[in-house]
């Protein structure tokens, strides 16, 4: 009986399951391959985006680390600088140094005549050059009366031309640098009087409307102050909150509410914190606007959830045996946490803090609302001085129409990304070095 039923399908030439499977196998393997390729494609696309982004920024920005200078023989004419010969600092700083620059340019290109041509000639050099000369003379009044070759800052148009951002083949009417200027630049290059040097201005100066005079020093100081205050405010609070919620808090509605709040705050759009800063800190408490202090307050509230969540994770990973051992030898609950659990969790907490600080360093939107977009030339010296921060400086420069600001924006981004990379690497190394598997 059994044999018969078993054989019956064999006699009838019906399909076996394995045939069905085999028939579809080709198709299924093809589908498998396609799916896998899709996955590879997605990963490659993602990596490609990273590569394009970095190449684009670096490609646009690396030239900003060099700046074009023009060498001219400057005669520090006593008649112009100090006609009375008293060498009083007031006279020296009040003198009209433009005259020196103009005289030097005219001596170099004696053939130039006519008002318009002369004005174009003067525009070879940056409007900041007279100031440059003034500082030189003030530092060394002995220069007066002498003549020496000085490297002077070129105008941003010339800088762009030398760096190849202005198309020489374009018709003159569409070009920012006209033919006569091109000729002057070419003679200067032929004379070895025009050179690209390392751009110290970019790292030592504050904001300026002139690209060749603009630097990130002010924004960097602002970022430094803001970040230092943020760290000062947020780290102790975050450690305290994490410790309380993870180790001491009773399970009740209040702590539930706090937890839900922290999780939600971590996902609230950053711009909303700007509204909070504006309405509560500035309008209600009267914290001065545009200052690192108000920036730090807003960023503290913004980064607290991140650090708290990381801190709690670090505390959970410390095994209960540590606590129990401490309690067993007579430590009070707080002593057990402060002397044993917290030090063990510290690397994880620091990692979270660094990541939170990196986020705060790159944040822009809320700072726009609390007035940190102001145009500030001076470097801030106190936390209550008006200041701007690096990302906001990037935003402001990105909005500026001058071609020279594009490379400076990219360079500022490179500096910002450099800081972020260092911070994140520190976090990773910290984790690798101190993380303990219990």
């Amino acid at each position: 009986m059994n044999k018969q039923t078993f054989d019956a399908p064999v006699e009838a030439p019906a399909r076996r399951t394995i045939d069905t499977v085999n028939a579809g196998l080709q198709r299924r393997y093809a589908a498998e391959k396609r799916f896998r390729l899709l996955g590879v494609g997605a990963v490659i696309l993602g990596l490609l985006f990273v590569a394009i982004l970095f190449l684009d920024i670096v490609g646009k920005g690396y030239t900003a680390f060099q700046q074009t200078y023009i060498q001219l023989p400057i005669r520090f004419d006593p008649e112009v600088i100090d006609p009375t010969g008293t060498r009083a600092p007031d006279t020296l700083s009040g003198a009209d140094y433009r005259k020196l620059v103009r005289a030097a340019l005219q001596a170099r290109f004696p053939e130039v005549s006519g008002r318009r041509n002369k004005r174009a000639l003067y525009r070879l050099l940056s409007p900041g050059v007279p100031q440059q000369l003034r500082e030189r003379v003030l530092a060394d009044p002995g220069l007066i009366g002498s003549e020496s070759d000085v490297w002077l800052l070129a105008d941003d148009d010339i800088d762009m031309l030398v760096k190849g951002h202005i198309d020489r083949a374009a018709p003159e009417s569409e070009r920012r640098v006209k033919d006569r200027t091109l000729a002057w630049v070419d003679t200067l290059v032929a004379d070895n009087r025009l050179e690209k040097k390392f751009n110290t201005t970019f790292f030592s100066q504050g904001a300026s409307r002139e690209p060749e005079l603009a630097g990130i020093a002010g924004a960097l100081m602002g970022s430094l102050y803001t970040l230092a205050l943020t760290l000062l405010f947020s780290f102790p609070i975050a450690v305290g909150v994490a410790l309380y919620l993870e180790e001491f808090a009773p399970k009740n509605r209040w702590t539930d509410l706090i937890e839900v709040n922290i999780n939600n705050l971590a996902a609230v759009p950053s711009i909303v914190f700007g509204l909070l800063g504006l309405a509560v800190f500035i309008n209600f408490f009267g914290v001065p606007r545009s200052t690192p202090l108000i920036g730090a307050l807003v960023l503290t509230l913004m980064t607290l959830p991140t650090i708290i969540i990381a801190g709690r994770a670090a505390l959970t990973s410390v095994p209960p045996s540590i606590r129990e051992a401490a309690l067993g030898v007579g430590a009070s609950p707080l002593q057990a946490r402060l002397h044993h659990v917290l030090p063990a969790a510290m690397p994880g907490m620091l990692t979270g803090t660094i990541i939170g600080m990196a986020r705060a360093l790159g944040e822009t939107a809320p700072l726009l609302m609390i007035g940190m977009v102001a145009f500030i030339v001076d470097l801030p010296r106190e936390v209550t001085d008006p200041a701007t921060v690096l990302p906001v400086q990037i935003y402001l420069w990105a909005d500026s129409p001058e071609r020279g600001f594009v490379e400076r924006t990219s360079a500022a981004i490179m500096v910002l990304l450099g800081f972020l990379i260092v911070m994140n690497l520190t976090a990773v190394l910290l984790r690798q070095k101190f993380e303990r598997r219990w």
Binding site: G39, V43, V241, P269, L275, L304, T364, T384, V406, L420
Partner: protein
């Protein structure tokens, strides 16, 4: 204002108090050899003294700094001669007081310096100086008083450790409530200003109107004299940009997560995952720059090459770059949930003869779906709240359009434009930003709550 210096001095006093408390504890115990008669370790007596010296003084300092300016200003205002303030509105009065303050601190004054103004400024400077002296003496008196109290109370039977610990616990509880205070602060700040806004502009106009031009002309006979506050174009603009972003981020992020968690070798995973996550660490202003200066011109040229009219600031460029930004967000959240699916489910599927892709599509994906949906909702909430990319690349003009090649504006862009520069808290223009902020906060809050709920519920399912 010398409060930072005072703060440092106060910290110094606290350190001193610790030392005094420590020594005092040893001396009341009768020498180093007899400290076992103390209830707590000597350091706790030190901390006890430091807390007594520091805490009340710090609280006083905080309150004083918060209210000194207000009180001094109102005192100066009272002293002003009547003819100076007669017929001035609140705003003009504020300007006048500002001038006085500037004159007193040596800043530039907007108007002419009259003798009356000079007198008021002198009064202001005098009062501020007085207040500073009072602050210093009061705070230091309170600190020293606290120290003296602790000194007197130090006794071998004093339960210093318990006192210190319970104070610390109170401080921890206060810190913990900051999260709630923050949410409350956000809610109150947006709700108050929004109420003011909705008194001037009706709710229906705001949520249903299709005309947005918040700039109010100075004269009544100019175009746009009343301003229009229909936010629908902003909502559609936000949705359009977010939609484009999600169309980029979800497929790429999801497929990358699936590949990395199911196919890739440990080596590839170890390299690729951190590199992809670099995208998440890049500040949004960098993406904005990239969108505005690289992607938008590229799309415009591409459109021109195939005969399409593309605006130089297009929703497409902003959405595209925002999508790139969100990829790691989607992929790391999806990665988490995919990894949380138990291995037994995969093994079961393989045992039945399924290929890997079939297992992923028919077993793992459905099992992970709730978590993935939660992750996507979080990503949407991020896209809606994202600011810098759209500010720099999407444009300012409120177009009611679904065409991704046109410039659109979003809720966040308008908030930034309305609140940077001059703010007048009595005009609907500035208040509109808070109404938009309220909308944004509520929408993202709802999305977050749903998403967090789904994700948490899903995690519990497999734990």
């Amino acid at each position: 204002m010398q409060s930072p210096v005072l703060l440092l001095v106060l910290l110094g006093v606290m350190a001193l108090a610790y030392w005094f408390g420590y020594k005092r504890a040893i001396s009341v115990a009768g020498g180093v050899n007899r400290i076992k008669t103390l209830h707590s370790l000597p350091s706790y007596y030190g901390l006890y003294a430091a807390l007594w010296a520091g805490l009340p003084a710090l609280l006083l300092l905080g309150f004083w700094v918060g209210f000194q300016d207000v009180i001094v200003t109102s005192l100066v205002e009272e002293e002003l001669p009547a003819e100076m303030t007669a017929g001035l509105s609140a705003g003009q009065k504020g300007l006048l007081l500002n001038d006085i303050e500037n004159l007193a601190t040596g800043n530039i004054v907007s108007g002419e310096v009259t003798p009356a103004l000079q007198a008021a400024a002198d009064n202001y400077a005098h009062l501020q100086g007085l207040a500073d002296i009072a602050l210093w003496s009061l705070v230091l008196a309170v600190a020293l008083g606290g120290l003296a109290l602790a000194w007197k109370r130090t006794h071998p039977k004093l339960r210093a450790r318990n006192r210190v610990e319970s104070t610390l616990m109170v401080i921890l509880v206060v810190f913990s409530s900051i999260a709630i205070l923050t949410t409350l602060g956000i809610l109150l700040s947006v709700i108050f200003e929004s109420i003011l806004f909705f008194q001037k502009v009706s709710v229906t106009e705001f949520f249903l109107g299709s005309e947005w031009s918040p700039q109010i002309a100075l004269r009544a006979d100019q175009v746009g004299a009343s301003g229009a506050f229909g936010a629908v174009p902003l909502f559609t603009g936000t949705l359009l940009v977010s939609l484009i972003a999600m169309l980029i981020a979800v497929p790429i992020g999801l497929m990358a997560a699936i590949y990395l968690s199911e196919y890739a070798s440990a080596k590839i995973r170890a390299i690729t995952k951190p590199v992809l996550e670099v995208l998440a660490g890049i500040p949004t202003v960098v993406y904005g720059f990239f969108a505005a200066l690289t992607v938008a011109p590229f799309i415009r040229d591409l459109g021109a090459a195939i005969g399409l009219e593309v605006a130089s600031e297009s929703a497409l460029a902003a959405g595209l770059v925002m999508g790139i930004m969100i990829i790691p967000f989607v992929s790391s959240l999806s990665d988490d949930v995919i990894n949380a699916v138990p291995q037994a489910m995969r093994d079961g599927s393989y045992a039945l003869g399924a290929t890997r892709s079939e297992t992923i599509r028919k077993v793992i994906f459905p099992a992970a779906l709730p978590g993935i949906v939660g992750g996507i909702l979080l990503a949407v909430s991020r896209a809606i709240g994202e600011t810098m990319i759209v500010v720099m690349a999407a444009g300012m003009s409120a177009n009611l359009t679904w065409n991704p090649l046109e410039a659109v504006t979003t809720v966040t862009v308008q908030m930034v434009t309305l609140l940077t520069g001059d703010q007048e808290f009595d005009s609907p223009k500035t208040l509109a930003a808070f109404a938009l902020g309220l909308t944004l906060f509520v929408v993202t809050l709802i999305l977050n709550v749903i998403a967090l709920h789904i994700v948490r519920k899903y995690r519990e399912q497999y734990e």
